[in-house]
């Protein structure tokens, strides 16, 4: 119990249901290759791991600092392009991976510092507008500099031998699972994601995190107490950007590909927003629930809707609303409802319900 407390930086789920859900997700992700064999489900599991980190890093901004940024995918993309460019230009080995990652982190740090110092002094609205413009500029840049980035097609690259799908650790499958590069990559992604998440959890529960919350609650007062709010906000912005960059590295590594559609697309930014808000802003655990729910819905809700749409054929409008391509409509509605009525999202509901019972 003490160990768990330390690991979670004292920020326990504080709800039996929440703990149960988190435990189930952790269990499923940890054993995904064994529980859900098949390429598609492993893809889903890896994406969940990576997006949990991405979404949690965004929550550090949105939920803990009260800043809306539309440039989070930019940092995600920098991570992806960083290793993609390094791996295609250099020898596709571990050193290229390290160089690419380090380079991407450096670029993200500088950019986030610039964006932060440039616009964090002003209102939330202005920051949101500027980041939107900057992110769209970056997306244009990535598609225009096709010599470097592969343009719209993106970059497909080789990963270190050890991580290649063809690589075999054991000659024979164990329990029907191939012990090869894919499995190794998955566990690399999984453990990195877990470590990054716990790191973020530590950050928000540290004195630094508490100052961020104080600023969010009352900027004027925090300023009066002697906190340099701009400094803290800029730090949060940088930390968040760096973690997003690492998530981008992991995603590119998993896909062995980086392109505008997997990283820089504005639709991904919208997805992140939905995941944070539905999961619960300002509750790191919300990113786990929000991401899992969203990505599972993205991949499986459509099947369900196809059935519903078919079943309601003949009724006007309803089949159109239930068309599988309209799954985002319903998540969008859920998002709006969350912002109005459940600002702490699912986690807030679970904790609230748990507290009442307890």
């Amino acid at each position: 119990m003490r160990a768990i407390d330390t690991l979670l930086s004292g920020d326990l789920p504080r709800s039996r249901l929440l703990a149960l859900a988190l435990g189930a997700i952790l269990f499923a992700l940890a054993l995904a290759p064994f529980l859900f064999p098949g390429t598609r489900s492993l893809d889903v599991a890896a994406k969940v791991c990576i997006f949990i980190v991405l979404v949690a890093s965004y929550d550090l901004l949105l939920g803990y600092t009260g800043i809306v940024s539309f440039a989070h995918t930019m940092f995600f993309g920098i991570g992806g392009y960083g290793i993609a460019i390094a791996m295609t230009r250099l020898d596709a080995g571990w050193s290229a991976l390290a160089i690419g990652t380090a380079g991407a982190l450096a670029v993200s740090l500088v950019l986030s510092l610039l964006v932060g110092l440039f616009s964090l002094r002003v209102k939330a609205i202005f920051f949101a507008m500027v980041t939107l413009a900057v992110a769209s500029f970056f997306a244009i840049l990535a598609s225009q500099l096709s010599d470097l980035t592969g343009g719209e097609d993106g970059l497909t690259f080789k990963v270190p031998e050890f991580l290649r799908p063809g690589f075999r650790l054991l000659d024979e499958p164990v329990l029907g699972v191939v012990f090869g590069g894919k499995l190794i990559t998955y566990y690399l992604v999984f453990t990195s994601a877990l470590a990054l998440f716990l790191g973020l959890l530590r950050a928000v529960n540290s004195p630094f995190g508490r100052v961020l919350l104080a600023i969010r609650e009352n900027e004027f007062r925090a300023e009066a107490l002697g906190y340099r709010t701009v400094v803290y906000r800029t730090l949060a912005n940088c930390l968040s950007a760096l973690v997003a960059t690492l998530a981008g590295v992991l995603y590119a590594l998993w896909l062995r590909y980086t392109g505008p559609n997997t990283t820089l697309d504005f639709a991904i930014m919208i997805d992140i927003l939905l995941m944070v808000v539905i999961g619960g802003m300002g509750t790191m655990y919300g990113s786990i629930l929000g991401t899992t729910l969203f990505i599972v819905a993205q991949n499986y809700l459509q099947d369900l809707m196809k059935m519903a749409s078919g079943a309601t054929r003949g009724i006007p409008l309803l089949p159109d609303l239930l068309h599988p391509d309209r799954w985002l409509l319903w998540l969008g509605v859920l998002f709006v409802v969350c912002v109005y009525y459940f600002p702490l999202g699912i986690v807030g509901r679970l904790r609230h319900g748990g507290a009442r019972k307890g």
Binding site: A128, L321, Y340
Partner: protein, 337 residues
């Protein structure tokens, strides 16, 4: 300490800050030398002005809405999309008039198209203000989130109603193509855009400067509290500004759709970035700044698009950066209390 009454002193002059206007003129002049060909330059300039005026139509409401109530509507692009799609449907319904060789009959298609876009966008604006915006007055974070959410849902609903495909939005017959003045080719529709854009700008200036409502809007942007302390309901005023702003975005959307001759679901989100850039450049809350900013963006986009197509898409953001480094509050900062 202030000076005692300076009755004998010289009369201070009312001055508009002309530097941004000079920059605008400078851009046009520099472009002339860079382009080298007078006819190309005229064509590009007209295209830039047309584009700038269309952006102004779409952006002006947003900047006033922000100025009055500190509300930033991230779903403003929705009204642009609505206008464009209503335009598609209306133009289709009047396709015989639009296909006629007679300019008057063409007008019979253009007028209901634009009117439809204005009315529907305005109505949806009224609904949006009541349902989405009003509950989150004064809460910036929620405002950004909720309007973004509204945009997501609305975009999906447009999918449901009009389908996911690119739809054609043809210009009426006599407004297609261009005519030649000397060796300068001028696209007819661009002239329509210029005429409508200038009319909207003139009407807006007239309202803002010569009517009591307009004075109240300007006063409210500066100091909302004082306007209320004088007994006026800024909220009611705001609702109307929001509706008119939405309707204008609809008008702009329909015109923009015709300008491009087709419409996609992303038209709103795409224009949103441009519009943000324009109102940031102009100074949040400033209509005059929005006008200059829109022209600047339109002209630069066209000039750069010709001179160096690769850079064109990003030119606006570079422009924004430069302006912000020079004047962090935009070209015409609004003095707000």
């Amino acid at each position: 300490m202030t000076q005692p009454s300076d009755d004998q002193g010289p009369l201070p002059q009312a001055r508009i800050d002309t530097i941004p206007l000079l920059i605008l003129a400078g851009v046009v002049i520099v472009a002339f030398f860079l382009i080298g060909s007078a006819s190309t330059w005229v064509t590009l300039t007209i295209a830039g002005v047309a584009m700038g005026l269309l952006i102004f139509i779409m952006a002006s409401g947003l900047t006033l809405v922000f100025g009055l109530m500190d509300v930033m509507n991230f779903a403003h692009g929705l009204f642009i999309a609505i206008g464009a799609y209503v335009g598609v449907s209306t133009m289709k319904a009047f396709s015989s008039a639009a296909g006629s060789e007679s300019f008057l009959e063409n007008l019979g298609a253009l007028a209901p198209t634009l009117l439809g876009a204005v009315v529907v966008a305005g109505l949806i604006g009224a609904f949006f203000e009541r349902v989405i915006i009003r509950p989150v007055y004064g809460q910036h974070l929620k405002q950004i989130l909720i309007t973004t959410g509204g945009m997501i849902v609305a975009e999906q609903l447009i999918h449901v109603i009009w389908g996911p495909d690119l739809l054609p939005l043809p210009r009426p017959e006599t407004l297609r193509g261009s005519f030649l003045v000397g060796d300068v080719a001028i696209e007819k529709f661009r002239l329509v855009a210029v005429v409508v854009g200038l009319s909207v700008f003139a009407a807006m200036m007239l309202v803002l400067n010569r009517t009591k409502i307009g004075l109240l809007i300007r006063a409210g942007v500066e100091n909302k509290e004082m306007v209320e302390a004088m007994g006026y309901r800024v909220r009611r005023l705001f609702v109307w500004v929001f509706i008119v702003g939405s309707a204008l975005a609809g008008l702009g959307g329909a015109l923009w759709g015709m300008y491009q001759e087709n419409v996609t679901v992303h038209i709103g989100a795409q224009m949103m970035v441009l519009i943000f850039i324009v109102i940031i450049i102009g100074g949040l809350g400033s209509v005059g700044g929005c006008f200059v900013g829109a022209l600047l963006v339109g002209l630069v986009a066209n000039y750069v698009g010709y001179l160096s197509p690769k850079v064109a898409l990003g030119s606006n953001i570079l422009l924004m950066m430069i302006v912000l480094f020079w004047r962090p509050q935009g070209l015409y900062p609004v003095n707000r209390q």
